[in-house]
């Protein structure tokens, strides 16, 4: 009976974040893969509210929502801290983590899923404006956390990988190396770190997922009478 269980899928960057945090802190855990499309009973038991992954189960008690889980992990296993000590710096990490998810990841998804047109152009512009803010944050630093991987690295970590697959599936260029050299460099370094590399969803899986979703979404708008 493992003390720490992670209920997850292998193609989710939100799940990868949790694995990264656990591995960086040397926490042993049992990875329990679930089928989210068929609402596995385990998922309904441990996350009845959202029925989503990841869910961390510690001593039988479930915690859902990836950023909530990261804070829980940070507060429970105090070695290798992910957040800085200073309250203002901690707040900055949290602020940028939320921003990266809301504006960069979801913004990119908007840009990718839309068919050619004004909406798509606007979404691309808006996402690149957001990426520019992130570029400023990483300029001159090895990681967002400084010399060590931190909370913000984990929150942003999956984004370049996701974006690359979204770009191919959606026919857009968002995170180009010329415009965002620091972000690009950070992304390349980050993905090579062994604990990060071993948990990242294979690009093929992501590409497959985005291709399918985008075809479906675009077919809906074409099918209108």
């Amino acid at each position: 009976m493992a003390e720490v269980k992670l209920i997850a899928t292998t193609d989710s960057l939100f799940c990868a974040r949790i694995e990264w945090a656990l591995k960086l802190k040397g926490v042993e855990y049992e990875f329990i893969e679930v089928d989210i499309r068929n609402k596995s009973p385990l998922l309904l038991k441990y996350n009845p509210v959202h029925k989503k992954v990841p869910v961390l189960v510690h001593h039988g008690k479930p915690i859902a929502e990836s950023l909530v889980i990261l804070e829980y992990i940070e507060e429970t296993w105090k070695n290798n801290p992910l957040l800085p000590e200073d309250p203002y710096e901690r707040s900055m990490a949290r602020f940028w983590a939320q921003f990266a998810g809301d504006k960069c990841l979801w913004g990119a998804w908007e840009a990718a899923k839309l068919a050619e047109g004004e909406g798509k152009v606007k979404a691309i512009e808006s996402t690149q404006e957001s990426l520019a803010f992130l570029e400023k944050q990483i300029e001159g630093k090895k990681y967002f956390g400084g010399e060590q991987i931190g909370f913000l690295d984990l929150a942003v970590g999956g984004i370049p990988h996701s974006l690359s697959a979204m770009e191919e599936a959606g026919g857009v260029k968002l995170l180009d190396a010329e415009r965002f050299p620091s972000l690009h460099k950070w992304a390349q370094n980050f993905i090579e770190v062994p604990v990060i590399k071993e948990c990242i969803p294979p690009r093929e899986q992501l590409l497959n997922y985005f291709n399918t979703s985008i075809s479906y979404i675009r077919s809906l708008s074409v099918a209108k009478p």
């Binding site: 510690h58 915690i63 929502e65 909530v68 804070e71 829980y72 309250p87 901690r90 707040s91 949290r94």
Partner: protein
Amino acid sequence: MAEENKVKLLGFWNSPYVRRVELALKLKGIPYEYVEEDLKNKSSLLLKYNPVYKKVPVLVHNGKPLAESHVILEYIDETWKNGPPLLPQDPYKRAQIRFWASFVHQQLFETMPLVFKSDGEAQEKALKEVFEKLSVLEEGIKNIFPGGIQIIEHENVGLLDIVMISVFGPYKVYEEVLGLKLIDPEKTPLLFSWLTALLEIPVVKDSLPPHEKLVGFLKFIRQDALNSTSA
């Protein structure tokens, strides 16, 4: 001495996000300077301090700005350790509070505008969703208030209470504008007694926007939205 620990809050009278931060500052007894922003004509101060979102609330502490209410609330809790804590000590309890605060904010608060801005079938659908989510919340917070709720003391008001009040504190205003019961003591008795207990606390009650002013504002929003869709 005056410059040390100087706190400024950029806000707007009708922003629930701003109300959260003000309530937290008042509960902790933190003195602050309030600056009302005209959101149609944003000040250069706001644009300087929140270039990313250009929104309120912005908390400025010793010249350093912070945006996003949930980030600000945690900052307040970590910086001013005197006065009542906004989060419990236990990591699991903290996780529960954060989870439900996020639920109230994302699942409930963000679906409320549609209830005001629609009528007929569209409004019925939006209301159904709100009631379903209120039921989920009712069920979910049983773990947080295992013995039910009678009285809440000033020093026990925390982050989840603050978020709940910021969204549903004015529920009587919403009920007046919509002409229906939103927080029904029979359907959601725990939510009803929670809000009732919180509104007994003077500093919480005072944090609500003026009743008539909010009624007027919401009626205007509703009329405006309904007019534009029926054009």
